[in-house]
């Protein structure tokens, strides 16, 4: 009897804990619940954003201060769509963003809220399959040294 139970246990463990990480991920998220984040360009006039699936690049090119304000302010809009495997559009997902890296020359605000290294909830219930438009404000004080501007914003979507 003990041998049988041991065999049952071994089978259970083998079934539940796949050897490879890839298999583990498949087990963790059923196929129809696999989410992906997709960046979408919005506004035909803004050619500085290039989106390719879950990656997007915003090239501000040369930023030169104008006027007498104490800082240079730039605003860019972009869209995010959450996709679910199988083109399913039902349900919602949470979107979280954080500043993964930055050079210190500029400060960043997403939808009016300061972006820092601490994750913040951009949208707790974003509809799957729908494009939501977000605004990124970049502010460069006139005291900041000239040089390359570089920042990376990490995004994460979690199924609700």
């Amino acid at each position: 009897m003990k041998r049988m139970m041991t065999a049952v246990l071994v089978l259970l463990v083998a079934a539940v804990l796949p050897v490879r990480a890839e298999e583990r991920r498949r087990a963790a998220a059923p196929l129809d619940d696999v989410l992906s984040i997709v960046f979408v360009e919005v506004g035909s006039s803004d050619e500085s954003l290039k989106a390719a699936g879950s990656e997007a690049w915003l090239d501000l090119n040369a930023v030169t201060h104008e006027g007498t304000a104490r800082s240079t302010r730039l605003r860019r809009r972009f869209g995010i769509r959450i996709e679910r495997a199988g083109n399913a559009t039902a349900g919602t997902a949470g979107i979280v963003a954080r500043l993964e890296s930055w050079d210190g020359r500029a400060t960043y605000r997403l939808d009016g809220r300061s972006l820092t290294a601490a994750p913040f909830i951009v949208d707790a219930h974003a509809a799957v399959g729908t494009v939501t438009v977000h605004t990124l404000d970049i502010e460069i004080p006139i005291e900041a040294a000239a040089g390359p501007l570089s920042a990376s914003v990490a995004w994460e979507v979690n199924s609700n």
């Binding site: 246990l9 259970l12 539940v16 930023v63 201060h65 104008e66 959450i82 020359r105 006139i142």
Partner: protein, 173 residues
């Protein structure tokens, strides 16, 4: 035996817990660009009826001027033996952004040759349309520098328009 069932149950629960965990996906938005140094010159004040102050292109209208008439707004009139001088000031401000420079050089040059018998002076130096005149080589950013502005008209000068432009150029040191 009971203990074995207990362990089995725990393993089964673990399995369900794993399957039910939330799906997660991530993305990255990369921002790049180059912050460039810049300076900005504005005309803050000038004699005459002035428009465009606070910008880099101000206009000053002196109206009709004559030796024995009254001085235009913002000017004083001094009559000499063979000439007369209208005197005022020009306020120029230079602001900097994303620049480590601590001061600047400001020059001025006439946009066109002055009318015969008319001399334009800034800070006591006669301006020409062929070469720039240095007004300061240690200008302070963010504050308005005031420069004396004189227009000297010879009595022999023909009655005519004296229109001209003073082109200021600031260069960071």
């Amino acid at each position: 035996m009971k203990k074995m069932f207990g362990v089995s149950a725990a393993v089964v629960m673990l399995a369900f817990a794993s399957v039910a965990s939330a799906a997660t996906s991530s993305g990255t938005l990369t921002v790049t660009g180059t912050v460039e140094s810049s300076i900005n010159l504005t005309i803050e004040s000038a004699g005459g009826t002035t428009s465009g102050t606070g910008t880099a292109a101000a206009t000053s209208d002196l109206g009709n001027i004559s030796k024995f008439g009254s001085a235009p707004t913002g000017f004083t009139l001094a009559r000499g033996a063979s000439n007369w001088t209208l005197s005022s000031t020009v306020g120029v401000q230079v602001d900097k952004a994303n620049l480590t420079s601590t001061d600047y050089t400001l020059t001025a040059q006439l946009g066109s040759a002055p009318a015969s018998g008319v001399a334009w002076k800034l800070n006591g130096s006669t301006l020409s349309d062929s070469a720039a005149t240095t007004l300061t080589s240690t200008g302070t950013y963010g504050s308005t520098g005031s420069y004396s502005w004189d227009i000297v008209v010879a009595d022999s000068a023909a009655a005519a328009a004296i229109d001209n432009a003073i082109n200021f150029t600031a260069t960071s040191n």
